[in-house]
Structure formats: C-alpha cells, structure tokens
C-alpha cells in the first residue's frame, strides 16, 4: 500500500467518523433548522473542528515524510487523486446545491424565522466534508481498478 493510499484510508476514517457523528446528532436532535440548544450547535462545531484539525495534522505528517524520503506519490497516485478530486467536486457541488434548495424552499414555506442563522455555515461544512469523504472513497475505489495516465 502506498503512502497516498494510506492517507486516503485515514481521510476516509476521519470524515466517515464525522458524518456518523453528524448523523447521530441529527437523529437525536432533529434537523439543523430547529436547533435551539447551544450545546447541540457547539457539539456540531467541535466535531467539525476536530475532523478538519485531524486533516491538517495528517497533511503536516505527509509533508514531513515527503521532506524526509523525497517524493512519496508517483504518477499513478497523482492520476488517481486528480480523477478522485473531479468526482468529489461534482458530488460536493450537487450536495451544496441540494442544501441551498432546501434552504430556499424552507424560507418560502415557513419564513426566515424557521432557518437558523448558522445554516449557511452548515452548508459550507457539509460541502467540505462531502468533498473530502468522496475524494477518499473515489481514490480507494480507483486503486483497485484500471487507471490510465491522463484519463479524466
């Protein structure tokens, strides 16, 4: 397993855990529109902050390995991550558009008071997590499949 493949697994672990944490929060406390409890909001933010901090730490560790051992990703790793990023961008864009539609429909049906002022930040966080989770999943799928250099 290459270092790039290992980082994809770590990224999947981090953002898989974040999505499970969010899902548990939504199941226990309902949708984000109606959260009045500050502690629930803070739990959401702390979960997100922990995941993104873990990603930063992983990237620092990868940079240290790179400076110590030289290039740790070859052209196949780069081709896989380039394609995985394309998939991830498309998926993330779709999720963000869907959430913006939910926001617009809720606003039209129930008015501004039904929408948390934090909702745009939720959209950004969920879009970012979707991007990184999809990138990891797509990269791991492609490591097991046929890849062509320059194919996108």
């Amino acid at each position: 397993m290459t270092i790039s493949q290992k980082t994809a697994w770590v990224q999947l672990g981090i953002f898989g855990a974040l999505v499970i944490g969010w899902a548990a929060l939504f199941i226990v406390n309902g949708t984000v529109f109606y959260w009045q409890d500050e502690s629930v909001k803070m739990t959401f933010y702390w979960l997100s902050a922990a995941a993104f901090a873990a990603l930063v730490i992983m990237n620092i560790a990868t940079s240290i390995l790179k400076s110590r051992y030289g290039a740790i990703a070859d052209e196949r790793d780069k081709a896989i991550f380039r394609r995985a990023s394309l998939w991830a961008t498309g998926t993330s864009y779709t999720v963000v558009v869907a959430l913006l539609l939910v926001l617009a429909i809720t606003y039209m049906n129930k008015g501004a008071e039904a929408i948390s002022v934090y909702f745009p930040l939720f959209i950004v966080l969920i879009g970012g997590a979707t991007l990184l989770l999809t990138q990891a999943v797509a990269a791991l799928i492609m490591y097991g499949r046929k890849v062509e250099h320059g194919e996108s």
């Binding site: 290459t2 493949q5 070859d74 196949r76 890849v147 250099h149």
Partner: protein, 70 residues
C-alpha cells in the same frame, strides 16, 4: 465503441533480466512498487515518460515492452 488496450511484458522482461525485483525496477524508473504491480496486472497504463524509462531500464525498445491493441 470498443476501448483500445495496451498490454505489456514487464513481468517477462524482469525475469529475463536476472530476476529483477519489482522494487528494483521501481527504484530504477522512479515510481512505487505498487505502480509496477498495477502495470503487471494491467491495471495501469503509464505515461509516455514512464514507459520510456521502463524500456530503457531493460535496454529494449518501447514496443518490446508495450503492445497496442486497437
């Protein structure tokens, strides 16, 4: 439309060159051992640059290593 495929003889050439290991070939051409494994299994089609490096590592021409089938 049927996709073209590129096959290779890397495994055969490694054995013909004193049973060169995948690790050794990877070091010579500047890629990871996993990429050599993927190439031998037909799971990766390399760039022109890597293809030339592999051919040079065996001291043969590009077409002795890679075969194009349309």
């Amino acid at each position: 439309m049927e996709r073209a495929s590129i096959n290779n003889r890397i495994r055969r050439l490694r054995f013909d060159n004193g049973e060169m290991t995948q690790e050794e070939l990877a070091k010579r051409v500047g890629c990871t051992r996993q990429t050599i494994i993927a190439l031998e299994q037909g799971k990766y089609v390399p760039s022109i640059e890597l293809a030339f490096k592999i051919a040079r590592a065996f001291g043969v021409t590009l077409e002795d290593v890679f075969q194009y089938e349309a």
